[in-house]
């Protein structure tokens, strides 16, 4: 047990330590973004390049073949692919950066007392910022043009919230595991590939056999992608059961990640 009194510390009572956490989070995220973009905000748009290129490649190759599943519209296929890739891109970049974050800051944590969770969380937060200035405006524009409804634009934030929850949960989990297993990044690449293949991004969900589709339900990203597409591209009013499903799987992932992190984080300092 450790007790202390002084402004340096975390156990000052909930409000103060929350303020501290926010301050440290702010400087870590701004460090991260400044290093990444070196003062040029245009750099943010580099991160859009990847999903845009991938979207055009998928559309060129699969667009005509799958158009019949998308009301015979290649544009609709393209938008579907883009929204799916935006989700997956955010997820994979934020969690791979979170993965190494604790180990990379190990020497710092050996010198200054800091809450361990702040490092993976700061990586997720930096990616949220990047998403908010990069892909989000495009998605919102898309939604407004297709649905002509402001409700859809506002509700769009709910599946994205679910996405942040899933990414935080997985980010906490893998960052903790990486402390113990430094070869985890190779395995995690495989996991990301499985997620890409098992999410209905470049193919319509209908082509998957029904018994296999039952397994794909366990992919926490697929309900998010389904809900996002329903709100953004279908042109119908938001389907709240889909949103509920996405938020539920997001909350569950975060709880599992957080519990594992809490259980293991006492062992970190011996191995950093």
């Amino acid at each position: 047990m450790y007790q202390s009194e002084g402004r340096d510390f975390w156990d000052l009572g909930a409000q103060n330590s929350f303020m501290r956490y926010r301050e440290v989070l702010y400087v870590l995220v701004s460090r991260n973004l400044k290093v990444r973009y070196r003062g040029s905000l245009l750099g943010v748009y580099w991160s859009l390049l990847n999903p845009l290129i991938m979207t055009s490649v998928y559309t060129l190759i699969f667009g005509t073949a799958f158009a019949s599943y998308y009301d015979n519209s290649i544009v609709r296929y393209m938008l579907g692919a883009f929204s799916g890739l935006a989700v997956l891109n955010f997820f994979s970049s934020s969690t791979t950066q979170a993965l190494t974050s604790i180990v990379l800051n190990g020497s710092l944590m050996n010198k200054i007392r800091l809450p361990v969770s702040i490092f993976p969380v700061s990586m997720i937060a930096a990616n949220v910022f990047q998403f908010a200035v990069g892909a989000l405006p495009l998605l919102m524009m898309m939604t407004l043009l297709i649905s002509h409804s402001l409700t859809n634009v506002v509700v769009l934030f709910l599946p994205l919230l679910a996405l942040i929850l899933v990414a935080s949960g997985v980010g906490l989990l893998v960052s903790a595991l990486f402390v113990f297993f430094r070869d985890l990044s190779y395995f995690y690449e495989l996991v990301l590939f499985l997620l890409l293949i098992s999410s209905p991004i470049f193919y319509p969900q209908e082509i998957v056999p029904a018994n296999v589709r039952a397994i794909l339900v366990f992919n926490p990203l697929s309900s998010i992608i389904a809900s996002l597409r329903q709100i953004a591209i279908s042109g119908h009013a938001p389907d709240y059961s889909l949103i509920g499903h996405a938020l539920l799987s997001g909350a569950l992932t975060l709880v599992v990640g957080w519990i594992c992190f809490k259980r293991w984080h006492h062992q970190f300092m011996d191995l950093l």
Binding site: M1, Q3, F9, Y26, V27, I112, F181, L184, H266, L271
Partner: protein, 277 residues
Amino acid sequence: MFQAVASPVYGFVVMQTICLDRVSLWRRTQEEFSYDLKKTILSILEGKYHKPPKHLVLDRLDLAIESGRKVGIIGANGAGKSTLLKLICGILQPTSGQVRVRGRIAPLIELEAGFEPELSVLDNIILYGVLLGFSRREMQGRTPSILAFSGLEDYALVPVKSLSSGMVARLGFAIATDVQPDILILDEVLSVGDASFKRKCKQRIERFWNSNTTVLLVSHDLEFVRQECDQAIWLDRGQLKMQGSANDVVDQYLYTVRQELDLDSQEWNFGLKEVLC
């Protein structure tokens, strides 16, 4: 929250800044840990997996340090001196027992860890200060005095990676000591920058030394501990061997070390004779 620790000494109430109550710490050694998922899974499948052992690093330590004391921590390598400092800073959590600390701690141990080489000196001052426990606004107010003390006014917008290592060390020292801490942690005596900066550092540390700041110093320079500290703690393989006035503890420590040396050399002579005969 902190529990008031006060002990009446001769009618006065002396506040204890640091109080350890039967503190033990078990740690895994990094050398014995495989860090390898593939190997771990394979060894579990082969049934050869065994949990990496833990070692007792600190053994039921009881310690009370009153505020304003200058305490030297001595002992052989691996006795747990730096570990003790980490416990007091709250970086490590004790396996059992209780650590209670009152006041703001300034750790002066290898100061460069918090810097981001790509960012400017200005950004790094804010970053490092916030990591050390200040708010961003406070750090903005402190920036001029930190730049002045470290002599880096002309480098405010230069990225830290283009500073010399001496300049970086100066910057770290300036940030960590800009505000007088309640507890100052010194792991080994500082050797920061050139001669003139060393003098500035020394003056600043002396100012803390002469004020009510509690100082914890790990050093192998026994004469320095004897002269400058008023108390000393002797750690031996994780146990508190002795605590008392710096003079007594250093004397006893030297006496024991010499005796061990004598014993060693006797055995050595004995062995040599056997070989020769």
